[in-house]
C-alpha cells in the first residue's frame, strides 16, 4: 500500500504544503510566497508573520486538492533547516500540531535534500552530480558512502544572493533572478570581473562589490550581462571539474537559479563536452515547495517524537545520512 505524506516547507520566502504518495505521485502542491517591498530582501519576522497568516489556508487547500483527510496520511514531513529561524518555526509548529493531534509520525527534512530528492524523482536521475543553486545553497554534490559530499561550494555568498543583492541594489524586489536575466539579455559589452575559483570552491562576493561600483560608470545592462557571464562561467567550470573528477554520467540541476536560460544553455554545453546527460528539475518544482519536503520525508522515513522535532537554522548537508 502506498503511503501518503504531507510535506510542509517554510524555509525562507515560501510557505508550501503538499500531499504526495510513496508511489511518486504529486497529489497537491499549494504555496504562498512572501514578497517584501521593492529594494529589500526577506525580513525574517515579516516573512514568518506572512507564513502564520497563510498556513491554515494553504494546508486546507492542499488537503482538499489532494482529496485526502488528515487521517489518511502516513506521515508529516517538515523542512527543519537550514533557513530563517522564525520562518522554519512556523512550519515546524504546524507539523508538530498535526502530528500530535492526529498521532502521525513526524519526519524532519533537510531542505536541500528535498531539492535533490525531488529533482532525482522528476528527472529520473539515478546517481548524478548535483548542482544545487538557490538563495540558500550553491554547491556541487555527489553521493558517496551514504552521504551527499561536497565537490565544490561557495566560500561566501550563494549565486542566488549575488543575483538578489545586486537586484535589490538596483531597486528590485526579491527574488531578482528573472529581472537580472532580462537586463543581461540586453547587455552587449563584456567587462572583466573578479573570477575567483579556489580549487573547486567559488567566491561571488567580489563580483557583487565590483558590479555595484561599476554601475556608476557603465550601462546597467552591460553590468548585469558581465555579472552573469562571469559568475555562471565559474559555476560551469567547477561543475565540469566535478564531473571529470567523479566520472559520473548525469548532471542534475536544481534550485531557483536553475530557471535561468543563459545558465541552462551553458550547462548544456558543459554536459556535451563531458559526455554527460543534463537533467534539469522542471521549473515549477526547482524552487522551494512542500512537494520536495513530502518526497524527502517519504524517502528518509526517519521519524522523531514531536518534542524532538526541532528546527536548525544552520545545518550542513553532508551531516545528513541518506537512504
Amino acid at each position: 500500500m502506498a503511503t501518503l505524506a504531507l510535506g510542509i516547507e517554510s524555509t525562507a520566502h515560501t510557505f508550501g504544503a503538499s500531499v504526495m504518495s510513496s508511489s511518486g505521485k504529486i497529489l497537491s502542491d499549494v504555496r504562498e510566497v512572501y514578497r517584501g517591498p521593492e529594494g529589500s530582501g526577506i525580513h525574517p519576522r515579516e516573512a514568518s508573520r506572512h507564513h502564520s497568516e497563510v498556513a491554515p489556508g494553504v494546508l486546507g487547500r492542499s488537503l482538499r486538492e489532494a482529496k485526502v483527510k488528515v487521517s489518511d496520511l502516513g506521515l508529516v514531513a517538515y523542512s527543519a533547516g537550514p533557513g530563517l529561524g522564525p520562518c522554519l518555526r512556523v512550519g515546524a509548529v504546524v507539523a508538530r500540531s498535526i502530528s500530535e493531534y492526529y498521532s502521525k509520525p513526524i519526519v524532519p527534512v533537510h531542505h536541500a535534500i528535498g531539492h535533490i530528492e525531488l529533482g532525482c524523482l522528476l528527472t529520473g536521475a539515478r546517481d548524478p552530480v548535483c548542482l544545487l543553486i538557490s538563495g540558500g545553497h550553491t554547491a556541487i554534490l555527489a553521493e558517496k558512502s551514504g552521504r551527499w559530499r561536497f565537490f565544490g561550494e561557495t566560500l561566501d555568498i550563494t549565486i542566488g544572493q549575488l543575483l538578489d543583492q545586486f537586484g535589490r541594489f538596483l531597486g528590485f524586489g526579491s527574488p531578482c533572478g528573472p529581472r537580472i536575466e532580462e537586463l543581461a539579455n540586453r547587455g552587449k559589452k563584456y567587462i572583466r570581473m573578479p573570477y575567483t575559483v579556489k580549487g573547486n570552491d567559488l567566491s561571488f562576493s567580489g563580483i557583487l562589490t565590483f558590479s555595484k561600483n561599476l554601475t556608476k560608470s557603465e550601462r546597467v545592462e552591460d553590468v548585469a550581462y558581465s555579472l552573469q557571464e562571469t559568475a555562471f562561467a565559474m559555476l560551469c567550470e567547477a561543475t565540469e571539474r566535478a564531473l571529470a573528477f567523479t566520472e559520473k554520467k548525469e548532471l542534475l540541476v536544481t534550485g531557483g537559479v536553475a530557471a535561468n536560460g543563459r545558465l541552462g544553455a551553458m550547462l548544456d554545453e558543459v554536459c556535451t563536452r563531458q559526455g554527460v546527460e543534463l537533467k534539469v528539475t522542471p521549473q515549477r518544482y526547482a524552487g522551494d515547495c512542500g512537494t520536495q519536503i513530502a518526497w524527502a520525508g517519504l524517502v528518509a522515513k526517519k521519524s522523531v517524537t514531536p518534542e524532538n522535532a526541532f528546527v536548525r537554522q544552520s545545518w550542513r548537508l553532508d551531516q545528513v545520512e541518506i537512504a
Binding site: E153, T158, K198, G199, D201, T230, A233, E237, R241, R312
Partner: protein, 209 residues
Amino acid sequence: MTRLIKRGAEADILLGKWRDIQAIFKVRKSRKYMHPELDDLLRSQRTLREAELIKEAKDNGVRCPRLYFVNLEDSTIIMEYVKGPRLKDVSDEGNTNLFGIMGNMLGKLHRSGIIHGDPTTSNFILYGDELVVLDFGLSFRSNTIEDRAVDLHLVKEVLSGDDPLEFRRKYAKFLEGYKVGFGTASDETIGRVKQIEKRGRYARSSWGE
C-alpha cells in the same frame, strides 16, 4: 599522431610524440560556453602561469613533469609523460607512506611560495617508486597562511570522501609529511584550516555538533 587520454574540465590531455619521445600535450581548448574574451584570457593566463610554476617547483626540488615546450598561441604545454596510477586509486598499505610523501611535497611547494590550488589525490601520480605532482593549472604564488591553509583544506576535503577512520589515518600521515616539507612554521597554517572550515556555509551547526 596524438591520442586523447583525458578530457579534463580544464584542458584536454593528449599523448603524442615530441622529437621522438612520448610526451603529454596539455591543450586548453576553447570553452564555447564562456564569453570568448573571458575564455581567451583564462586560457593564455593559465597556460603561462602553469609553465612558470612547474619550472619553479622543479627548481625547489619538487618532482613534477619536465617541460619540453610551451606554446601560448594555442595554449599548449608539452611535457614529460608520467605514466602510473593516481594516488586516488593506489592502496597505501605497507611501508610506502604515500600520503606522508604527498604532504612533504605540498609542504615544499608552500615553502617555495607556490600554492597548488587543486591538490587532489588525482593529481599525484605514482611513477615507478616516486610520487609526481601534476596539474599546476590552478596554482599561484603566495606566501600567506590563508592561501596555504586553503590548499590543506582541499586535501582534507578530498580525503574525507573516505570512511572516517581511513580519513584520519591518511590525513595524519599527510600532516606529518607536510610539517617536514614546510618546516617549523607549519603549525599556524594547520591551525588556520579549522577556521576556514568554520567559515563554510552552515558549518556552525545549530545543535553545536
